[in-house]
């Protein structure tokens, strides 16, 4: 499938259309909103469903060395990418060390919804991927946050002692890892019994959740013009491509299949908006949250969902195809 039709298919998928509907509604200041607790519940549902599905796959294929290899690579990327992002931000923008460190941490960590959107694109194309990639996603959440704290401390910021406990016990990390374990133990027959909630309605819930993400992204985008400079805005678009290139090289080195490579690239390109801001707001109070949230939610997430994912899939096919 050529890249253009890939990109068009992606834009015409219900989930991307829902995101664009939300984005448009927010930019037009329409009075549309998803109730907060419903949005949080959808987020919990998606995390749990994707985690459980991954765990079931691990149960099916067994825990082998290639899983371990992928996990180690993921952790390494999660530590490395913030260093790259930090250097780029310090060179190309006027951000202070602490703001740059905080933003950089978000780019090492991951967005699980971007990951899910990647799996949907692969499924639509009939390209296989391994269920254990969700464990790689889980493993990439936290190391980047610690890297960001180290960068900020080195940059002279007065950081609070690294709250390792809080970082690792963040709800989204606990839920994702817990769901993987539940899926692993319950196995395929256990999953069979709950497919009516965790498999069949999955794509529909993803649509409604992306409607909400579109509304949120639109609100952040509206304030982007006033809150952050042009060089920072540009970073929100090209940094995912840098992350994709680095992630692609790493995944190619360990010999991932095209599908798995596409997902590792997507994870590398994605920026966190749950675990990373939650931890960094407390640990780096002097960092301006408007910068990192606008970057990850207002710029990088929309870019990845619409144009990024087709690019990453095409890149993976070129590298490993």
């Amino acid at each position: 499938m050529d890249f253009l039709s890939l990109a068009l298919d992606n834009l015409g998928a219900p989930m991307v259309l829902c995101f664009l509907l939300g984005l448009g509604a927010a930019l037009a200041r329409a009075d549309l909103s998803i109730p907060e607790q419903a949005a949080r519940m959808m987020s919990i549902y998606l995390l749990f469903a994707i985690g459980m599905k991954g765990g079931v796959e691990v149960a099916r294929v067994g825990f082998g060395p290639e899983i371990l290899m992928a996990l180690v690579t993921g952790v390494a990327l999660s530590i490395l990418l913030p260093l790259v992002a930090f250097s780029v931000l310090r060179v190309t923008t006027g951000l202070s060390a602490i703001d740059a460190a905080a933003a950089a941490g978000h780019y090492g960590s991951i967005s699980i919804v971007t990951f899910v959107a990647g799996t949907q694109a692969l499924e639509n194309m009939g390209l296989a991927y391994s269920g254990y990639m969700v464990a790689v996603a889980a493993a990439m959440e936290a190391p980047a946050i610690i890297a960001a704290l180290w960068l900020a401390a080195r940059g002279g910021a007065h950081t609070k002692p690294a709250p390792m406990r809080e970082i690792l016990l963040n709800g989204s990390i606990v839920l994702l890892c817990g769901a993987v374990v539940v899926g692993w133990i319950a196995g395929p027959p256990g999953f069979e019994s709950v497919k009516g909630l965790f498999a069949e309605p999955f794509k529909g819930v993803l649509c409604l959740f992306l409607l909400d993400m579109g509304l949120l992204a639109g609100r952040h985008l509206r304030s982007a013009a006033t809150d952050i400079s042009r060089t920072v805005i540009a970073f929100g678009i090209y940094m995912p491509l840098i992350g994709a290139a680095i992630g692609g090289a790493a995944g190619w080195l360990i010999g991932l299949t095209p599908g798995d490579l596409a997902l590792l690239i997507t994870l590398s390109a994605s920026a966190s908006y749950i675990a990373a801001p939650a931890a960094l707001r407390v640990a780096l109070p002097k960092a301006n949250p408007a910068i990192y949230l606008t970057l990850s939610l207002g710029l990088t997430f929309p870019f990845n969902l619409t144009f990024g994912i087709p690019i990453y899939v095409a890149l993976a096919e070129t590298l490993a195809g």
Partner: protein
Amino acid sequence: MQTHQKLRMDILIEAPLKAKLSAMLEAHEVSGFTVFPALGGSGGDGDWSRIGQITDIGQMLLFTCILDEARSNGLLEELYASLSDHIGYVTTSDVSVIRPRKFP
């Protein structure tokens, strides 16, 4: 009924700091506090709204604490020393209560 003068302290603070502020209040041995959710607002750093949010970031909570004036000074000092980056506002005002012993 006979009433007694106490202080009501209202602290608007970012939600991720909830545990920390709770611990601080308990360390100052207030008899209790109550947390109320805010829905949105506007301040020097712009607007915020809880609607559609999927995390606690940018959500503010109101801590209300009825306490004796004697305790308020130390508490205010520690508040501003360690949480000032996360505070929306802190106000104190006079209130009358019926059971003074409940609010030492």
